[in-house]
């Protein structure tokens, strides 16, 4: 049995123990969806970090920096900075006014059924993009690592899928939170060791490190080139590159503050103050980790080299390959085991976020008008939908190969969150005149804009433009109609505009009348959901 597998199995054994423990103390909807609201600030900070730092961060962003230098580092900056928006605008009001989902906040003063139905749709879309990214990451890892161990891609993906269902179905949010806490610790420790090893490789001389990173040689279309990876412009090139970068900024600045699986974590703490403190904990962890991604990424470019990365597992494998180069097979195994754990923890968080939205927003509140027909129905439906989500994800992952950079894939999900979820969430909390029509318009226009512009953009329509020699012939072979791969600069303003226009055209006195209650609740915590006593 390989070492990577051993590390991974140790993690699995630990987390299954946590799940068993959590399952025994988890009773009722508040326990299942919100861990009884008794998670402390540092615990939730670690859990949020563990929830947010996905395969997209560890595998995707390090890979982007290793292959495209400084431009990839802008993904790190964006991923961190987004938490300022959450800290200042979202975390506390969300905790004070909601129960289990984003939909709760909107349903407070708007007509609940249409609003919840659309929020559930945009939540599930966001999570699906993220889920695909995690599964592709898992697949890439397996292809590289477990090639010799006799475990195939299919077996590994199915295994990951089954584990995530076990965590979520049996352990609920409490187990998920602890799985994420353990994973965040492992991931940060791993990144720290890798960073120190990179500096050690350059004898702790910064000038040597940056010197090497500024002269990375690799083959481009068969010609050996030398590039400065500390300089910008390797990914985002003129004419559209600069605008694409600003567009990426939109996705990050507002997207994370609309990510359903991250936001539900703020329901697991006792009150708004703890939610606030937990964001700061998360910012310390996530910030430190992302600063280190630049060392790991540039280190991988300088030490491993883009040529080697591309021929040994591709863009997502830069981090593990760096570990192999610096610490040998044992360290590769440990880092890969941690990367697996990372994926597992994020996938569990995504699953519980999606199942909460489906069960609480869609099943109980949209279909059954907010009435549980039997005691415990919401949790039962959530468990069944977690199973279904697991099955769907496994099938999608089996159909997909480890082709795309998972960091890029995740930004698609974030684009939906930034353009559909964030505008309606923010306006609902801060704008008196916001109405149901506005929410419907904002959610649907935001969602459609992202999907539409992505579809006619370079990553879908333009993936196989005429004149390019491609190994696979895609359905559409045309120049993209929309030149940017990041749609945020168009879709975020469109989402806001639609939400504003809808509210102005379809004003709703009933919703305005309840705004005072929402404001008082969101700032004081009066009437907020309480932590359970046992």
């Amino acid at each position: 049995m390989s070492i990577a597998l051993t590390v991974f199995l140790i993690f699995v054994a630990m987390t299954l123990g946590v799940t068993y423990w959590a399952a025994r103390r988890s009773r009722g909807a508040s326990a299942y969806f919100a861990a009884g609201r008794r998670i402390t600030a540092w615990q939730n900070g670690f859990a949020v970090a563990g929830d947010f730092m996905s395969a997209a961060s560890f595998l995707g962003v390090v890979g982007l920096i290793a292959l495209q230098g400084f431009d990839g580092f802008l993904y790190s900056v964006g991923g961190f900075i987004a938490f300022v928006t959450i800290l200042l605008l979202i975390a506390e009001p969300l905790r004070n006014t909601g129960k289990y989902t984003i939909g709760d906040v909107l349903a407070y003063r708007l007509r609940p059924r249409p609003v919840r139905a659309l929020t559930a749709l945009s939540t599930l879309t966001t999570i699906l993009f993220y889920m695909i990214a995690q599964m592709v990451g898992a697949g890439a890892l397996v292809t590289l690592l477990l090639a010799g161990s006799g475990i195939s891609y299919n077996v590994a993906v199915t295994g990951v899928g089954i584990l995530m269902v076990v965590y979520v179905v049996f352990g609920g949010m409490l187990a998920t939170t602890w799985v994420q806490i353990i994973k965040a610790m492992l991931l940060c420790a791993c990144a720290l060791v890798l960073t120190v090893l990179v500096f050690h490789h350059f004898h702790f001389r910064l000038t040597d490190f940056f010197g090497a990173a500024s002269q990375v040689s690799y083959h481009q279309s068969g010609i050996l080139v030398v590039r400065d990876f500390v300089q910008a412009g390797l990914r985002y090139k003129p004419p559209h590159g600069p605008l694409d970068l600003v567009s990426l900024g939109f996705i990050f600045a507002f997207g994370t503050a609309g990510l359903p699986h991250v936001l539900v974590k703020f329901y697991t703490v006792p009150d708004a103050k703890t939610a606030r403190n937990s964001v700061v904990w998360a910012m310390i962890l996530i910030g430190s980790f992302y600063v280190m991604t630049s060392v790991m990424g540039l280190g991988a470019a300088a030490i491993v080299g883009p040529d080697y990365i591309l021929t040994h597992g591709g863009t997502n494998m830069a981090g593990p390959l760096l570990a192999q180069a610096l610490g040998g097979e044992l360290f590769l195994a440990i880092v890969s085991g941690v990367a697996f754990a990372t994926i597992l923890a994020v996938v569990a968080g995504l699953t519980i976020g999606a199942s909460a939205s489906f069960a609480h927003d869609f099943w109980v509140n949209v279909i059954h008008h907010g009435v549980e027909r039997r005691h415990g129905e919401t949790v039962l439906v959530a468990r069944v939908s977690a199973l279904a989500i697991g099955a769907i994800s496994i099938v999608i992952a089996l159909l997909l190969g480890p082709t795309a950079n998972v960091g890029i894939l995740a930004t698609f999900g974030m684009a939906v969150a930034a353009s559909a979820n964030f505008p309606v969430l923010a306006l609902s909390i801060f704008w008196r005149r916001f109405s149901t029509t506005g929410a419907i318009a904002g959610l649907s226009v935001g969602l459609l804009a992202v999907m539409g512009f992505l579809a006619v953009g370079p990553n879908v329509m333009g993936i196989d433009p005429p004149g390019r020699i491609a190994s696979v012939r895609h359905l559409i072979q045309a120049k993209p109609w929309f030149p940017l791969e990041n749609v945020g600069i168009v879709s975020v303003p469109l989402g806001f505009l639609a939400a504003w226009l809808g509210s102005v055209l379809g004003n709703e006195p009933a919703a305005e009348a309840r705004f005072n209650e929402l404001v008082v609740r969101s700032h004081t915590g009066l009437g907020a959901e309480q932590a359970s006593l046992h």
């Binding site: 200042l88 500390v230 900024g249 008082v520 907020a528």
Partner: protein
């Protein structure tokens, strides 16, 4: 502190209009609005300058480290700084909030 108060619509309106609550909002706004505006400007300056002023951002400061790289790193410091300042400011928010809650509890007859 009892948060399970049951209030009718008039009472929510009364609290919302109260001087104490308006003070709380004003104090919060005084911190959050400038912090948010500064943060958004500072953050968006990074992709804008990297994209549209590549010469400036590519200037080496020491060794091969560029202005752009240091600017990107400074985003982390600014993020942490805003978080630290917000934590400090929030002590006052919490105090004002507690006053409002205490008064509501008295009004409800200390239920």
């Amino acid at each position: 502190m009892n948060n399970k108060l049951t209030l009718n619509p008039e009472e929510w309106d009364r609290i919302a209009a109260s001087r104490q609550f308006q003070d709380l909002l004003a104090v919060k706004r005084l911190f959050i609005v400038p912090a948010l505006v500064f943060f958004l400007l500072y953050y968006f300056l990074l992709p804008i300058l990297v994209g549209y002023a590549p010469k400036l951002m590519g200037t080496r400061v020491f060794s091969t480290v560029t202005v752009g790289y240091l600017f990107a790193l400074s985003q982390f410091l600014v993020g942490w700084l805003i978080a630290g300042l917000y934590m400090r400011a929030s002590a006052k928010f919490d105090r004002l909030t507690r006053d409002i809650l205490d008064e509501e509890q008295l009004r409800q007859g200390g239920r």
